[in-house]
């Protein structure tokens, strides 16, 4: 498993050159923006069960066949498995976001996931849709841009200092996109 720093080290080692100048500048940026990263991880982790259950519920609303007899979310047992998997995927995405590198997500979550789902008969398109909803919800939590209109009576605003979160939210989005493309 690598993080942003060890990724730079592995890249430099392949050229047998020390790390200086440009690479160090980007790592310094990582440190300077570190608090945004920690806030972003906290925003997802603190709302994880909400993000996951909304995503699975949204996926089912768009395709109600999933909870009818024969559907892939039909008995509670399979619905529970679906919720559990959503939480696992989101958890690995928070790990990747915390370390600033996708290797933990790739190695421990996505490697072989598509083959496993195909073998188990899990519909990949629905899974991808659920991850897409998790992405939208997580980005809204990171940017703190959700409103009472979006959240309804369960709306809860996190108290944090607002700033420019464009780069961290696009980084988070890239990890969700990685999951979606691994499943399609």
């Amino acid at each position: 498993m690598l993080d942003a720093f060890s990724r730079a080290v592995v890249a430099a080692d392949s050229k047998t050159s020390p790390i200086g100048g440009e690479e160090l500048a980007s790592l310094k940026g990582f440190i300077a923006e570190g608090n945004k990263r920690l806030d972003a991880v906290n925003a997802i982790a603190s709302n994880a069960s909400c993000i996951v259950s909304d995503a699975v519920a949204g996926m089912i609303c768009e395709n109600t066949g999933l909870i009818q007899a024969g559907g892939n979310c039909y008995p509670n047992r399979r619905m529970a498995a679906c919720l559990r998997d959503g939480e696992i995927v989101l958890r690995y995405i928070t790990y990747a976001l915390l370390s600033g590198d996708a290797s933990v997500l790739e190695d421990r979550c996505l490697n072989g996931l598509k083959e496993t789902y195909t073998a188990l008969g899990v519909p990949l398109q629905s899974t991808g849709r659920a991850v897409g909803i998790m992405k939208a919800a997580s980005i809204a939590h990171i940017n703190n841009s959700n409103t009472e209109g979006n959240g309804g009576k369960r709306f809860r605003k996190m108290e944090m200092i607002n700033g420019d979160c464009a780069s961290i939210s696009s980084e988070a989005a890239s990890y969700f996109d990685r999951v979606i493309s691994a499943l399609s």
Partner: protein
């Protein structure tokens, strides 16, 4: 590769939980200390060739028998390889400063080091002398800030200990 972040993530993954507040706190702690490390890494990277050359010269000066025929520093090829080895150690120290742990030195320097030097019939004392020279050569604030120098010296100490 082991670092504060990967250690935290491994522990959280083993427990199957999201990163907790205390996980985030420990990552933040390492980020706060990181600027000194990166300063040392930057200064070392900029002057790595000179630092290695001085350390190499110092160890050859102390162990001048290495220049005798048949010894490890006798031919031009051997000389350049000796200097290259010192550069390798300095480069790994640079990596360790970036990562914030001894992972690169452990994995790429120390693992198998004893066996290699024994197989090639190389003495380790000159390496120790070269690294010790580098360790005592650094000076704050001439070369880097004192906190950066502490991080740099402690990694050199780690490398020296592995050889002695």
């Amino acid at each position: 590769m082991k670092s504060v972040v990967t250690t935290v993530v491994t522990a959280a993954d083993a427990a199957g939980r999201f990163p907790t507040t205390s996980d985030l706190e420990s990552v933040q702690g390492s980020l706060q200390r990181a600027s000194a490390r990166l300063e040392a890494a930057e200064k070392l990277a900029a002057n790595l060739d000179q630092v290695a050359q001085e350390a190499y010269d110092a160890c050859i000066k102390k162990y001048s028998y290495l220049n005798n025929q048949g010894e490890a520093n006798s031919t031009d090829t051997f000389k350049s390889k000796c200097l290259r080895d010192i550069k390798h150690y300095m480069r790994l120290v640079n990596y360790c400063l970036v990562v914030g742990g001894t992972g690169p030195l452990d994995e790429w320097g120390i693992a198998g080091q004893r066996e290699v030097y024994r197989a090639l019939n190389l003495p380790t004392a000159p390496y120790v002398e070269a690294l010790t020279f580098a360790r005592n050569r650094g000076c704050a604030p001439r070369d880097m800030s004192s906190q950066a120098l502490v991080e740099y010296n402690s990694l050199l100490d780690y490398a020296i200990n592995s050889l002695s």
